[in-house]
Amino acid sequence: MAETVIGKSITIDGEISGNEPVIVEGCVKGKISLQSSVVIANGAVVEADINTEEIEISGHVTGNIVASDRVEIKADGKMVGDIKSPRILIADGAGFKGHIDMDVD
């Protein structure tokens, strides 16, 4: 019933944690730590370290991402920071600057 959405005009300065999906349309500064999925929507600005299972980026992210399952940067997405995840998708047109670690043995 209650999916977590951080709306366009909302700014969160601090830490978001939990185990259900989060959609960010606004601004988050600090840290996101979820045992679930994160969607950074188009227009969102995130300056945070993100630790999650799955993340989809259509907005701007500055920070390091650790995803246990998958990272996807969509065509509108811009990402500055390091990514550590076993599966990484970067769409045509997406912006990315940073280091990728897919933990290949």
Binding site: I10, D13, G14, I16, P21
Partner: protein, 187 residues
């Protein structure tokens, strides 16, 4: 419309100008230029500033609702509240100070503050009072003073004692000791 889900915890500051519904937990400061709903099982620990606030869950800290605060039946609030209007359902629990802006129509507050200032004035008056009282004691002849002390009655003459007894509607017969005893008992 922003929602904090039931399994989400936010620590820090949330600000913005759109409606916010909290099913989960927020520790910190919420400053929203719109309405905030703390839903059932939702928890806010800290400061909550918004236009209209509806509490169904728990709030601990401070609530500042510029237009309206509603505490629903299951609300559990331990907070200092400042609001223009408050609605509380039966069953809601509230502990804390409530301040409502009443446009200066409350005269009681200024009076309470001024009362400690008037106290120093009575403190000054008791000093002259003891000085005044010793003076009548060596003058037992004055009719007004004689009733008080037993010693005074012994100092009076039988005639004066009889006059006293008349004043008290007592019998004027008997010895001086009997008159004094009667006067003492009448007192």
């Amino acid at each position: 419309m922003t929602t904090i889900g039931p399994n989400i915890k936010v620590e820090g500051q949330i600000s913005g100008d759109e409606d916010l519904t909290i099913y989960g937990r927020v520790d910190g400061t919420i400053t929203i230029n719109a309405n905030v709903i703390v839903a059932e099982n939702g928890q806010v620990h800290g400061t909550l500033i918004a236009k209209e606030v509806i509490v169904i869950g728990h709030v601990q800290g401070t609530i500042n609702a510029s237009s309206l605060l509603v505490l629903e039946q299951s609300a559990r609030v331990v907070a200092d509240i400042e609001t223009a209007s408050l609605r509380m359902e039966a069953g809601a629990q509230l502990s804390g100070d409530v301040i409502m802006d009443l446009d200066g129509e409350v005269p009681t507050r200024p009076q309470k503050k001024s009362s400690p200032q008037t106290k120093p004035a009575p403190k000054a008056t008791p000093k002259p009072a003891p000085k005044a009282t010793p003076k009548p004691e060596p003058e037992p002849s004055a009719d007004e003073d004689e009733y008080e002390e037993i010693d005074d009655l012994n100092e009076l003459t039988v005639k004066e004692l009889r006059e006293l007894c008349q004043d008290y509607d007592l019998s004027t017969k008997g010895t001086k000791a009997q008159l004094i005893k009667r006067l003492e008992e009448s007192e």
